[in-house]
């Protein structure tokens, strides 16, 4: 996005300001980074519930008799196995098998899909998708007519259920249904980016503010708080989830990022197939790992790993974990150093902090 493009506001902007949010520019949007405090919001999502404005995400509809075949070629996961009413995690890959973006694919009907992509990449993704041969397909950008609220945490279902026209707890994880929430027509999706149970609600922008307020009112007795991008980032990190621009980008492949389960090499040709097939046969050189800092300090994106005095990789995300109360992060290490228990160090502004490779995710909710 060029510097002269004014940043946009979501339909919920006034609610954030009224709630005392600190607003930052993110991917061309004026978004709440935190309200009362990142730690408090993070802990509310782990123990009660948080409400997130994620209207900045991009949505693209792909319909027509050629839609399935088109998405089979465009993305590495197996769209043929995706049932109507289900979504799956997938990616847009270059012919070299690296990430243009990661995304969710929703199967709305036999020949109707919705792709949900990162705000920062939305314009580029759409241009890429349209540039690919798409016979018997219609591609429509739905971003401007779609608002998205995420309600996440152990109390999320209890808050939404009394307001919903269908029982959302009957949805499987990554299942969705059309219905109403507080009278607002919604695509109700049991998905999220926090490592907790919860829902994402796709609604018309004009109804978003009313729904936000109804959810906040209904959630008060359950401990629902508005949660910002800051908490969203620490929550996804604890859950070991990749973020574009950090763990995944145009230099990394899904196999390196530990996203092997998204790559269905047997389904037939797709963009990046050849490179990924070869990479799987020959083995990858580096792998995404989780690590914790065993000294005092916090590693951040771009800090370098060292082993025996030699630079061996870089940190992609790092934070202090509000749940585990220690500094942790993710980054790429040579496969030989990627096993849990391996001791490395991280150069944090000239200080060598000891770190240990640990399994991902850092946090897994009790079920």
């Amino acid at each position: 996005m060029s510097e002269t493009t004014p940043s946009r506001r979501t339909p919920l902007y006034d609610a954030h300001v009224a709630a005392g949010a600190k607003i930052v520019d993110f991917a061309g949007w004026q978004m709440p980074v935190q309200y009362a405090g990142l730690m408090e919001e993070h802990r509310a999502v782990r123990t009660a519930a948080g409400l997130f404005d994620v209207c900045h995400m991009g949505e693209v509809r792909v319909t027509g008799p050629g839609a399935e075949a088109f998405l089979q070629r465009l993305t590495p996961n197996d769209v043929a196995k995706l049932a109507v009413g289900r979504a799956h995690y997938s990616a847009l890959l270059t012919p070299e098998g690296t990430f243009i973006d990661d995304l969710l694919v929703y199967r709305l009907g036999p020949a109707e899909f919705m792709l949900v992509v990162n705000a920062a990449n939305a314009a580029g993704d759409l241009a890429w998708i349209v540039s690919q041969p798409h016979p018997e397909c219609e591609i429509t950008d739905l971003s401007d007519e779609t608002a998205l609220l995420a309600i996440q945490g152990p109390r999320a279902m209890a808050i939404v259920t009394p307001l919903a026209s269908m029982d959302p707890s009957t949805l499987k994880y990554y299942g969705f249904a059309r219905g109403e929430v507080a009278g607002v027509p919604a695509l109700i999706s049991r998905t999220g980016y926090t490592g907790e149970d919860g829902l994402e609600l796709y609604v018309p922008p004009a109804a978003a503010m009313g729904l936000w307020q109804r959810l906040m009112e209904a959630g008060r007795e359950h401990g629902l708080v508005p949660a910002g991008l800051g908490a969203r980032d620490t929550l996804r990190m604890e859950a070991g989830m990749a973020l574009y621009g950090h763990e995944i980008d145009r230099t990394t492949t899904p196999l390196e990022a530990g996203l092997d389960w998204v790559v269905k090499l047997d389904k037939g040709e797709f963009l990046g197939h050849e490179v990924l097939r070869r990479q799987q046969a020959e083995g990858i050189a580096r792998r995404l790992v989780g690590f914790e800092i065993t000294g005092r300090g916090i590693a951040r994106q771009g800090h370098l790993f060292r082993h025996g005095g030699v630079e061996v990789g870089a940190v992609t995300s790092g934070t202090f974990s509000p749940t585990l109360e220690k500094a942790l992060g993710m980054g790429y290490l040579p496969v030989a150093l990627a096993a849990p228990g391996t001791e490395v160090s991280v150069d944090v502004r000239g200080r060598e902090l000891p770190a240990r490779v640990v399994p991902l995710p850092f946090y897994r909710r009790a079920r």
């Binding site: 405090g37 730690m39 620490t234 300090g297 916090i298 951040r300 202090f320 500094a327």
Partner: protein, 128 residues
Amino acid sequence: MYPSEYRYTRDHEWVKVEDDVCVVGVTDFAQQELGEVVFVELPEPGQVFDAHDEIGTIESVKAVAEVFTPVAGEIVEVNEKLQDDPELVNDDPHGDGWLVKVKFSSASDLDDLMDAEAYEEYVAKGKE
């Protein structure tokens, strides 16, 4: 909000002069901008610095801020409580959340600092 007997820097630190020693901390504005502080890294007593040298870091969950010494001199004491209770920086930035005490070598370093009124204007201007 900002104690009138303190002096303030453009880096959002405060300085309280006690004889030939400066107590240094970060301002309430700075701690608000940082968010919840989780680590404070400070120098060792006995280390000597020039004015405006970086002497440590304060890390919150999302951000890191450098600590500078506003005056040249020797570190005579650091706030050991911050090792275990870094959140003191948030809870009491102008008091128990102090960072270091510096024995200053030249009182003229203090001349550049703002008084409380000027600092409040400086903060208000930055917010516009």
